[in-house]
């Protein structure tokens, strides 16, 4: 069982309040190393420079959206296998299916309860301690 405190997380969302809320939720779940960025471009640069275990990214962002971000991550030889969980503002089936084809590990529909995020993370990492 992995310790949540040992998992490094990058949260990407263009909305400051959403990043703050996800950060608080993750901290409540025991995560200690949570970084965040307001754009996929900045996040990509940051995770290339300092790798993380888990990326939690919004889909709906200006410039590079969540799918393009996922694609950039997956084709990168170094960070390509990073766990990627996508957040969508509504259950848009096409986007979720596309993300699944592109190798997303899981997705969460907003607004989500902390337990829902925990469950999606645990489906990838196993039960967290």
């Amino acid at each position: 069982m992995p310790a949540a405190s040992a998992i490094r997380v990058m949260v990407v969302d263009d909305q400051t309040s959403m990043r703050a809320m996800i950060r608080r939720t993750l901290q409540d779940l025991g995560f200690r190393d949570v970084r965040d960025k307001a754009s996929a471009t900045e996040a990509l640069e940051a995770v290339r420079a300092d790798r993380v275990h888990l990326i939690i990214s919004d889909y709906n962002m200006p410039e590079m959206d969540g799918l393009q971000f996922l694609q950039e991550v997956r084709k990168d030889a170094v960070i390509g296998k990073t766990v990627f969980i996508m957040l969508t503002a509504s259950a848009e089936k096409e986007i979720v299916q596309k993300a699944a084809e592109m190798g997303v590990n899981n997705y969460v529909v907003k607004p989500f309860a902390p337990a829902a995020l925990k469950e999606k993370i645990e489906r990838v990492f196993g039960a967290l301690t």
């Binding site: 309040s17 809320m21 709906n60 503002a89 259950a91 299916q97 997705y107 907003k110 489906r123």
Partner: protein, 170 residues
């Protein structure tokens, strides 16, 4: 002038002249956003989670509804050509008029102001609190807006529960 009424839980973004978005608010809050360069405007109408008697709802849980409602509006604004850095807003509602709902109106108003501050969206006009309902009329193309105190209190619906995820692909 075509009038489009927004009810609780809805939001609407429009970029055409000759349209007015309207809503009637009690303890709910409506945020109107406008981008004067793209000539796009949008309005929502939301209520944070409703605490039921004897059951305390954590303020964090309540905020999830508000953050989500605002995100849907902002996403649609940007899909219609608005830019986040050009947005300005108007905030209305948050009256404490319904017995049994305590100060939910004040909580809604406080949330909306905090959200706008956090997202660095300047507020052009606000009309919040008190104990009377308001009718808001917003011209999304021009960005003009007014709120009028009214005596009709709109019915309040319980906000949707935080849903699970509908699609099972994993």
């Amino acid at each position: 002038m075509r009038r489009v009424a927004i009810i609780q839980g809805e939001h609407r973004v429009m970029a055409e002249p000759g349209v007015m978005l309207t809503t009637v608010l009690g303890s709910c809050v409506a945020v109107c956003l406008h981008d004067s360069t793209a000539k796009v405007g949008g309005m929502n109408h939301f209520l944070l989670g409703e605490p039921t008697p004897g059951q305390e709802v954590r303020s964090e849980d309540m905020q999830r509804y508000g953050i989500h409602a605002m995100e849907l509006l902002i996403n649609d604004m940007m899909h219609s050509g608005a830019k986040r850095e050009r947005l300005c807003g108007h905030v209305y509602g948050g009256a404490n008029i319904i017995a049994g709902l305590g100060s939910i109106g004040s909580s809604n108003a406080a949330f909306a102001l905090r959200f706008m501050e956090m997202e660095a969206i300047p507020i052009r006009h606000r009309d919040l609190g008190g104990n009377q309902a308001r009718k808001v009329e917003f011209l999304p193309f021009d960005g003009k807006v007014r709120s009028i105190k009214v005596n009709d209190v709109p019915p309040v619906q319980k906000p949707q529960r935080i849903a699970g995820n509908d699609l099972e692909l994993f």
